[in-house]
């Protein structure tokens, strides 16, 4: 029995550092390990002893691609711990900031990271040589998302304006209005994106996902809602730990999340869309229908179309918020004094899926415990399951083709290994 190893030293076009090892024995897949070797940075440990007000700025540094998600989950968790309610225009502005991050992150993934796989290029720069209009469209969309974050947050990466209770400074109506032409254009470009990517060739695959996302009584979920699943789970956010657990496996510096008493599950655009299709805006539903996207999509390759539909939604939501915005009297809701130990948990929808934070705060305001469950940590086990099914049905591919197919299957889920990386070393062992 011979053993063969294929190594791809780096998986590109994902965020973070990892490796993949697949062991095949007698045409049977024995082991799939998505190994994350992104060095640990210990955020949960050094948050202990910091002031609760520092958490949004500190946790943003977990991920340069989705800092807003970390700022939102931490701010909401602290507000819940302190019994604060944040509504009105401040709540709307938080959605707006999230819209900016969704547009930026989805445009980045669709055009710069994912589309090259479908069109046969190593990157968007070489893609641009043959498809200049497409790549320019992607960059223009990305810029529009960044413009929203810049106006509201001061800068695109690690915005400085979000805080527990709201914002340091809220924009005037005129300032928000200045975004309108760019966002109207972005809406058109998002629709064109959906048409463009829906024409790609998709492998005919459906995976039996258990989808997990937030669900809000009236909105497509970003900051609020219960945690629901496609297998009937419905719990308030602070009961996350009743339904999900993290296990530490030897091959990964990221913890694997699973359903308690169950297996893997999927968070992210496919899950949000399947569980909240009825909450999409009219334009987002219309484009989904036009490009033939059903209300539940279980083909991971078609996540690229779902991301485009979510961009359409985020643009329409941005325009709605601009239309209705009246600046609040105070840019933030003041926090009460911390007089006894309190706990708070919150989940919000990062571009790549649900992000859970939980803290304990003790007087006079010190964090004494912190727990953060990132979307990619939750999807890691499910990505392994996708790979297992892919390799099982693709054993006749040669090593190079199978290796590339594995990398593609990972990129379908836009993993963020810093909350993740760029390189995944692929080890395929056949014996």
């Amino acid at each position: 029995m011979t053993e063969r190893t294929i190594s791809v030293n780096y998986l590109a076009r994902v965020e973070g550092e990892g490796a993949l090892k697949v062991r095949i024995h007698d045409r049977k897949v024995e082991d799939v390990e998505l190994r994350i070797f992104e060095p640990p940075r210990f955020f949960e440990a050094f948050l202990r002893g910091r002031e609760y007000s520092e958490a949004p700025d500190i946790t943003a540094r977990i991920c340069g691609i989705c800092p807003v998600a970390y700022q939102m989950s931490s701010a909401h968790a602290m507000e819940r711990a302190l019994g604060m309610t944040v509504g009105g225009p401040i709540r709307e502005l938080r959605r707006l900031l999230y819209c900016g991050e969704w547009i930026e992150s989805h445009a980045l993934h669709i055009y710069l990271l994912h589309a090259p796989d479908f069109l046969g290029y190593p990157d968007a720069i070489r893609l641009a040589a043959d498809h200049p209009d497409a790549v320019k469209r992607g960059l223009e969309l990305k810029k529009a998302g960044n413009a929203i974050m810049r106006l509201l947050g001061g800068r695109e990466i690690h915005p400085i304006n979000a805080r527990v209770g709201g914002f340091y400074r809220c924009p005037s109506r005129e300032e928000l209005e200045s975004l309108r032409p760019m966002v109207e254009r972005a809406l058109v470009l998002s629709e064109e994106t959906a048409r463009f990517v829906s024409g790609f060739a998709f492998p005919d695959i459906e995976e039996p996902y258990e989808f997990v996302s937030l669900r809000h009584p009236s909105e497509y979920p970003m900051n609020e809602g219960d945690i629901v699943s496609s297998r009937g789970l419905r719990i308030p956010q602070d009961r996350f730990e009743d339904a999900f657990e993290e296990v530490h496996v030897p091959h990964s510096n990221a913890l694997h999340a699973i359903r308690k008493g169950g297996g893997s599950y999927l968070v992210g655009p496919l899950a949000r869309y399947a569980l909240n299709y009825d909450r999409l805006s009219p334009g987002a539903k219309a484009i989904a229908k036009e490009v033939g996207l059903p209300p539940v999509v279980s083909n991971p390759y078609r996540s690229i179309v779902v991301r485009a539909v979510e961009m359409v939604y985020a643009c329409e939501e941005t325009l709605r918020i601009i239309d209705q915005y009246r600046p609040p009297d105070q840019p933030w809701v003041p926090a009460p004094a911390v007089t006894r130990p309190v706990d708070g948990a919150a989940a919000t929808e990062a571009p790549r899926g649900m992000l859970f934070h939980k803290y304990r705060i003790e007087p006079p305001g010190r964090i004494t415990d912190a727990r953060i469950v990132a979307p990619t940590s939750q999807n890691q086990k499910r990505i392994e399951d996708d790979l297992r099914s892919l390799v099982t049905r693709s054993l006749d591919l040669d090593q190079a083709a199978l290796t590339f197919a594995c990398e593609r299957a990972i990129r379908n889920h836009d993993p963020c290994i810093s909350c993740a990386t760029h390189f995944l070393e692929l080890d395929l062992v056949r014996d």
Partner: protein
């Protein structure tokens, strides 16, 4: 499409959030022009194509936190004509350098159920602690305008124009009201290097020092002011010990407040 005359650019990641290299992809108007002027030999966030070194310019993001990374940065240095660090992690150890002030074994136990699976160094250190660095671009994250300036400068073999003065100067230029003087808001602007565009004061909050110390920081004087405004000594230590904890001027200010005791 390698050509003989085009400079080779490599972008490398160490322990970090990926945000500083994302700044390059955030140059939406210039990205294709930059890509047209260089051969991107290695940039895993953006491309699956790689070319062998040597590199004319290496951009290095992140800090060194593992033994294998300490070796990898030496290999990159050996292959690079010019090595530029981008961001607070690469330049001052980053937020993850908070481990340097604590017990890493304890940290590992807090985060991971099986600490024995985790391989990491007890410290997070800047790139310059390991290899010579030709230029350090500051910021958490870096400013993309400054990134383009530094890239053009090194590719054109001229000195980069990156000011090292304080955020205060930028605030004055921008016409910001001084949050420290007018509102009594604690602000690190007087001791922090400009480059961000003085955005925090423009949004009515105090600067929190994410570009690290300016060239002649008078932290002693600022600490007196911060204490007058009601900041406790531990709070002074924390504000200097966050994103640029290993930058010498900030480190000394944090240590000094800590040594003076935990008395409020």
């Amino acid at each position: 499409m390698p050509t003989a005359h085009r400079p080779r650019l490599g972008v490398f990641k160490f322990a970090s959030c990926d945000g500083c290299q994302l700044s390059l992809l955030d140059c939406e108007d210039e990205l294709l022009a930059v890509a047209g002027a260089v051969d991107i030999a290695e940039f895993h966030e953006a491309t699956s194509a790689t070319m062998e070194g040597p590199y004319d310019v290496a951009l290095v993001e992140g800090s060194v936190t593992t033994a294998s990374d300490a070796q990898r940065i030496r290999e990159i240095r050996a292959q690079s004509r010019t090595l530029i660090t981008i961001g607070a992690c690469a330049t001052a150890g980053g937020i993850q350098a908070l481990r340097n002030f604590a017990d890493v074994a304890e940290f590992t136990r807090v985060v991971y159920a099986h600490p024995e699976y985790i391989q990491t160094l007890a410290t997070s250190t800047p790139i310059k602690d390991h290899v010579p660095v030709d230029f350090e671009l500051r910021g958490c994250p870096i400013d993309k305008g400054q990134l383009l300036e530094v890239l053009s400068a090194f590719l054109g073999r001229r000195a980069p124009n990156v000011p090292t003065e304080s955020v205060c100067i930028e605030c004055k230029r921008r016409g910001n009201v001084c949050v420290l003087v007018a509102h009594g808001t604690p602000c690190l602007g007087p001791v922090t290097q400009t480059g961000c565009g003085a955005i925090c004061p423009a949004f009515h909050r105090g600067c929190y020092g994410c570009f690290g110390p300016q060239d002649t920081p008078n932290t002693d004087s600022l600490v007196v002011k911060l204490r007058e405004l009601g900041m406790s000594r531990p709070a002074v230590t924390r504000v200097f010990r966050t994103f640029n904890a290993l930058a010498p001027a900030f480190r000394e200010a944090a240590d000094s407040a800590e040594k003076q005791g935990a008395t409020p």
